[in-house]
């Protein structure tokens, strides 16, 4: 080597060097090294700028030569030491397994013996330190350093990459031998700016390393990572295709999780190995920096070094984090979902159990949860260490936690509405307190808060503190509060979505109402609630498929539920408008309500029983609640591990209870299957409510709650209350419902007509009616229900009058007659079979107070007519100045029929009795053939409506009294039950017909009455039209008439213009109107007017005559 020191040989030496080392020499020298250094500098080798050699390579070699010379001259000894030292190293080199460290390493290391002396030498030989020398020194030092921290090109490395990396750089003896040299070189490189001021091309070693790491990562690690994915990739690709289509069963799913876990773990291992490699270089550098800092005067260097290291670390993490593939993140997320799910107690979809279990937080001793937690901690640590704990992970984690919260809320609380404290059906209604009592939070909310605090927040704290160790506390107390409010929001959304079912399940769902009350705190949520609920109403209730009864039942439930939810009734007001509108379209709404109101006591009892039986399993009865408390816990909506359930009993609960609970929770069901027994066809709830004393409490009109200074529960009006908002005091289901049905008057009118029907049908007992009437009176006042009072009094009076008349008739047969004004429908108890013994009892109704009672004309049996006359006489003698008008069709009769082989006693209507009476032939002999009549015969005989005759015939046929003859139209008396079987079938047939008819029959009198009413109405309209054309304007167009009528009729004018036109057309045809130019005009009697004019003329004549006179 000394032979090469001569500068004049430099050129040749370089050539030789070039020929020997070819391109290999540049291998450890990074590309980053500036390549056009020398030509610029114009150094002794300036003339060599032209040759196409790689600058750095050239420079390095030359520099080493120069320095060798200098060192030889000055510090022989030291140099020698180094030199020999280096030879030893060089000899070892060939054993270096690193592919880069071949023979070139030998020569470079031998050449690079100089930098350490140069560092020392420089102060002693400043004259020698030309720019070129500085540069050479730097380059050499650079080479040493980079050679040391160069990364292996482990392109061929497979998964053993991790183990390979240390080998390539961590040869202990090499380490020992070259450490000093390395650190010196490093010092030179780092301090190049001060030590080698003239070396113009210096480089930041850390940056170089970072860049090298980047390149290495891109070239080697990324393929390895994708290899990790690819190893399972085909499978996962397949799986993703599958998951789009049919979902696999649990086994497959859990396998899925395992596979993703493998992917994640192998990726992590690969990254770990790579990072170990990268940080090894960094570690060396850092150690160099540390040494430098020790020797250096300024400790700024160490600070710098730390900064540099931190930056490097950050860079690497960013690199890893950003280069993580979608697939990897997907695997990570699958693994995370599984682990967090287990920790938070949310069963994942790929759980082994085929049925979905309800989520519930795990206990402290749940091994699965503990293991999962352990695993998650490890995983997060590892992810963080390899740089996957960056922003993407945080976002991913946040998303997962978010979905976990939703899953938990929907999973754990959907359909769990059990009341926190057992309150009975009636006691719920007693909560009059206007303030929403949030302190009585439900179990759901308590357990949810507990879950968020003890599981959710804990988990996020654990994970976040692992991935961001810098920040002092990643999850603060206020964060926990935020989580809880978020969870409550989810719960609110859930309850809102199932509000309709909650309403349907009332009152067993008051727990859910408690939830809602506590969670519905903002106006936005209230709006959401009303909006959602209105939509649900539209789709689930307000359609033709629901009977009015169901709608009304639901309405009652809505009123009670929403009242429990919000005593101010504002929510109810928002919701019920559409319902009320829809109810107005249901003609039978009022009738349903009224009949429900008048439900008999037995029906009430049945309904109560149903209520209780449905209530008992759900809410364990108020009184026995204490005793049953332990059992009740099993049905608790939710098991809160921390508070409720510690101890051995809990062990087996998750499975069993969850299943049981699921059974007991009402599934969303069609409205048709309401909880109130399907048997009840009346709105008995209404009657129950009416009997409930808390419901009948009326609010005093002058009671202004805002002025009651002693009211400690006063709360301001809700913000979303309307302008005319009046604070209601109580639930007042009946009041709300009745006001929903339109006016109070309509309700009372309907009540009167139903009451009339019932009073006429069942003459003896009307306790129920009286009671209801009393209750209604308390609500509406006496004046409103005066008619009903009179009706009941009529019935009571007529009983007395009837008895009196019968008494007097026994004494004297005939009475003087007097005209009178009272109209009266008769109730004839006709004894058709016996000829003489017939009793007639009448019910005397005051015409003005009873709802429309139309007379229907038919000819009663003569005996009855006779009776009626006598009765009339009796009455008129009793009450002078009054007159009876018989309403024959409204009566009832008990008929005893003596047939040849049997006698039949039947209660029937008067019309039916009349029809069967018509079959009686007083002259008939005993052996005569049975009497037969056709419908036409009967019609002629009785002048009864044919439909009624037909219905009566069917009635008697069903009783087996009449028989339809083969000829079809004729009926004959079945004197003997000659052919029982045939009769039976006939009877069945007839019965089925009767049943149909019975369904029709209520309609028939109504339609007759409606017809009469319609006639009346048309007559009135005609009056209006005549009045209009007489007075307002002699001729009017159709639309104007329609408009006037609509405006002027107090009851409203229901006709469309077409209907009116039709009506007017009839009048035109009848000659009462004429049309002129599209206007209607009354036809005046011209003839009369002519006569008048004639008369005038005559009179004029008279007058003239008189004047002449």
């Amino acid at each position: 080597m000394p032979a090469t020191v001569m500068s004049q040989w430099a050129q040749r030496r370089r050539r030789v060097f070039q020929s020997v080392f070819q391109t290999d020499v540049s291998q450890p020298t990074p590309h980053a090294t500036p390549c056009i250094r020398f030509p610029e500098q114009g150094q002794p080798f300036g003339g060599l700028a032209a040759p196409p050699y790689d600058g750095p390579r050239h420079g390095t070699v030359t520099a080493s030569a120069v320095f060798s010379q200098a060192a030889a001259a000055a510090t022989q000894e030291l140099l020698q030491g180094h030199h020999t030292h280096h030879h030893g190293h060089a000899l070892l080199d060939p054993q270096d397994p690193s592919p880069t460290a071949h023979s070139p390493t030998l020569s470079t290391s031998s050449l690079s013996t100089i930098p350490a002396p140069s560092q020392l030498a420089q102060p002693f030989f400043p004259s020698l330190a030309t720019a070129a020398d500085d540069q050479v020194a730097f380059d050499r030092a650079w080479h040493v350093v980079t050679a040391r921290i160069a990364l292996p090109a482990s392109a061929t490395a497979d998964d053993s990459f991790g183990t390979l990396a240390p080998d390539s750089q961590f040869l202990p003896h090499q380490n020992l031998s070259s450490d000093g040299e390395f650190y010196e070189a490093l010092a030179l490189v780092v301090q190049a700016r001060t030590v080698l001021p003239r070396a113009a091309h210096i480089e930041d070693i850390v940056a170089w390393h970072a860049q090298q790491v980047r390149a290495h990562f891109a070239q080697h690690v990324v393929p390895l990572l994708s290899g990790c994915l690819d190893g399972e990739g085909e499978d996962s690709g397949l799986d993703s295709v599958e998951s789009k289509g049919t979902r696999r069963k649990g086994g497959r799913k859990s396998h899925n999780y395992e596979r993703h876990m493998v992917i994640v773990m192998s990726s992590i291992r690969t990254l770990e190995a790579a990072l170990r490699l990268y940080f090894y270089g960094l570690g060396l550098l850092m150690r160099g920096f540390a040494r430098l800092a020790e020797s250096s005067v300024s400790d700024k260097a160490s600070v710098d070094a730390n900064l540099v290291a931190a930056r490097f670390r950050r860079d690497i993490h960013a690199l890893v984090g950003n280069s993580a593939s979608q697939q990897l993140m997907r695997s990570v997320s699958i693994v995370l979902v599984r682990l967090t799910g287990t920790i938070l107690g949310i069963p994942s979809e790929d759980d082994n159990s085929t049925e979905m279990a309800r989520p519930c937080p795990p206990t402290d001793d749940d091994l699965r949860a503990l293991a999962a937690r352990q695993r998650l901690h490890e995983l997060v640590d590892q992810l963080y260490n390899v740089g996957l704990g960056g922003e993407r992970f945080q976002v991913l984690f946040a998303e997962i936690m978010d979905s976990m919260m939703s899953k938990f809320v929907t999973g754990a609380y959907a359909g769990v509405w059990t009341a926190s404290n057992t309150r009975g059906f009636s006691t719920v209604t007693n909560t009059i307190s206007r303030a929403t009592n949030i302190s009585s939070t439900s179990t759901c909310i308590l357990s949810l808060g507990d879950w968020v605090e003890n599981h959710f927040a804990r988990l996020s704290f654990e994970v976040l503190s692992r991935i961001s160790p810098d920040s002092p506390s990643p999850v603060t107390l206020s964060d926990v509060k935020t989580y809880q409010s978020l969870a409550l929001g989810r719960l609110a959304a859930l309850r809102i979505s199932e509000l309709f079912d909650i309403v349907m399940a009332w009152p067993s769902s008051c727990g859910a109402i408690d939830d809602l009350r506590a969670t519905i705190t903002t106006t936005a949520r209230r709006l959401q609630l009303t909006g959602n609920f209105s939509r649900a109403l539209q789709t689930r209730l307000l359609h033709p498929g629901c009977s009015t009864l169901e709608i009304l039942r639901t309405y009652i439930a809505i009123i009670r539920t929403l009242h429990a939810l919000d005593h101010s009734k504002v929510l109810l007001g928002h919701v019920e408008s559409s319902l009320q509108l829809y109810l107005c379209q249901r003609d039978d709404a009022v009738r349903v309500v009224v009949t429900g109101l008048l439900a008999g006591p037995d029906e009430l009892r049945a309904a109560k029983k149903v209520n209780e039986s449905t209530k008992r399993p759900r809410e364990k009865g108020g009184k026995c609640g204490e005793v049953e408390a332990p059992n009740r816990r099993d049905v608790e909506p939710f098991r809160t591990p921390g508070t409720l359930s510690r101890g051995p009993r809990r062990r087996e609960m998750p499975q069993s209870t969850s299943r049981r609970r699921r059974d007991s929770t009402p599934e969303p069901q069609p409205v048709g299957e309401l909880r109130v027994g399907a048997s009840s066809t009346k709105l008995v709830e209404f009657a129950l409510l009416l009997n409930d004393p808390s419901q009948s409490r009326r609010t005093a009109p002058d009671d202004d709650g805002d002025l009651d200074w002693n009211d400690m529960t006063w709360v301001p009006d809700p913000v979303d209350a309307g302008a005319n908002y009046k604070r209601p005091k109580s639930e007042d289901v009946i009041g709300t419902l009745i006001s929903a049905l339109g006016s109070q008057d309509a309700f009372i009118k309907e009540f009167a007509s139903v009451l009339a029907d019932r009073l006429l049908v069942d003459p003896t007992r009307f306790d129920q009616e009286l009671r209801v009437l009393d209750l209604l009176k308390r609500r509406f006042g006496d004046a409103q229900l005066q008619n009903c009072d009179v009706m009941i009094k009529d019935v009571q009076d007529s009983r007395r009058v009837d008895a009196a008349i019968h008494r007097t008739r026994q004494r004297q047969d005939k009475q003087p007659t007097t005209p009178a004004t009272i109209e009266k429908p008769g109730k004839a108890a006709a004894d058709a079979a016996g000829e003489g013994e017939m009793q007639l009892h009448a019910r005397i109704l005051s015409r003005l107070f009873w709802p429309n009672l139309e007379r229907e004309h038919f000819i009663l049996p003569s005996t009855i007519v006779e009776e009626q006359k006598q009765y009339e006489h009796g009455y008129e003698s009793l009450k002078t100045g009054r007159k009876l008008t018989w309403l024959n069709q409204l009566g009832q009769a008990r008929v005893e029929l003596e047939l040849r082989d049997r006698s039949v006693t039947v209660d029937c209507t008067t019309a039916e009795a009349t029809v069967i009476y018509a079959f009686q032939d007083p002259d008939a002999k005993d052996d005569a053939p049975p009497a037969r009549r056709s419908v036409d015969d009967l019609y002629n005989q009785l002048q009864l409506d044919e439909d009624i005759i037909a219905a009566a015939l069917t009635f008697w046929t069903s009783k087996g009294v009449l028989r339809r003859l083969q000829s079809g139209d004729e009926y004959a008396v079945a004197e003997t039950l000659s052919q029982p079987t045939r009769d039976a079938t006939a009877q069945d047939e007839a019965e089925s017909i009767v049943q149909e008819d019975e369904r029709d029959s209520p309609r028939k009198p109504i339609s007759a009455a409606a017809n009469a009413k319609e006639q009346e109405r048309r007559a009135m309209y005609w009056q209006y039209i005549r009045g209009m054309l007489t007075n307002s304007s002699a001729s009017m167009p159709l639309f104007q008439m329609a408009m006037m009528l609509k405006m002027l009729m107090t009851d409203g004018f229901p006709w469309s213009n077409e209907e009116l036109q039709e009506f007017l057309g009839e009048k035109v045809a009848a000659g009462e109107l004429e049309v002129q130019g599209g206007k209607y005009k009354l036809i005046k009697n011209r003839k009369v007017r002519k006569d008048q004019w004639l008369a005038v003329h005559v009179i004029y004549g008279d007058k003239v005559l008189a004047n002449n006179k």
Binding site: Q1023, Y1024, G1027, N1031, A1034, M1044, L1048
Partner: protein, 176 residues
Amino acid sequence: MEDDQNSAPGSVQANKLGGARKGADGQNAAKRLQTELMHLMTSPAPGISAFPSADGNLLKWRATIEGPDDTPYAGLTFKLSFEFPSNYPYAPPTVLFLTPIYHPNVDFSGRICLDILKDKWTAAYNIQTVLLSLQSLLGEPNNASPLNGEAAELWEKDPTLFKTKVLERHKDVDED
């Protein structure tokens, strides 16, 4: 008395104008008039009829009276206009004959001297009673306080001439 009668229509007019503002009173009046109309239509009295005017204003009505038999007005029909104050029925309506009529208590512009339309008005009266009163006024004029002195005189002295004048004066008003 006479003075009162002569000035009365004007004062009623003023009353009406004063009460013409819309308000709760107007609503009540409209409601009451609707009910009265209903009553008139459902139980009409012979020879009289009334109806709100064609413009749809409930406070303006038209009425028709047929002259009663056995009076000079037999066979004639008379149109009247009713204008109701907004505080009706607490103030009387303004009633005018639209059909020219020769009558002791009606002047040539159709104004009527009838005590119940002035100071004797009570809320118990209604359109029907007013019309019936007017109908009876046709047969039994109050000649003690006539608006049309000649007619009052002729009523007593020359019934034939009176009837001639009635027929002369009568003229059907068909507004359209």
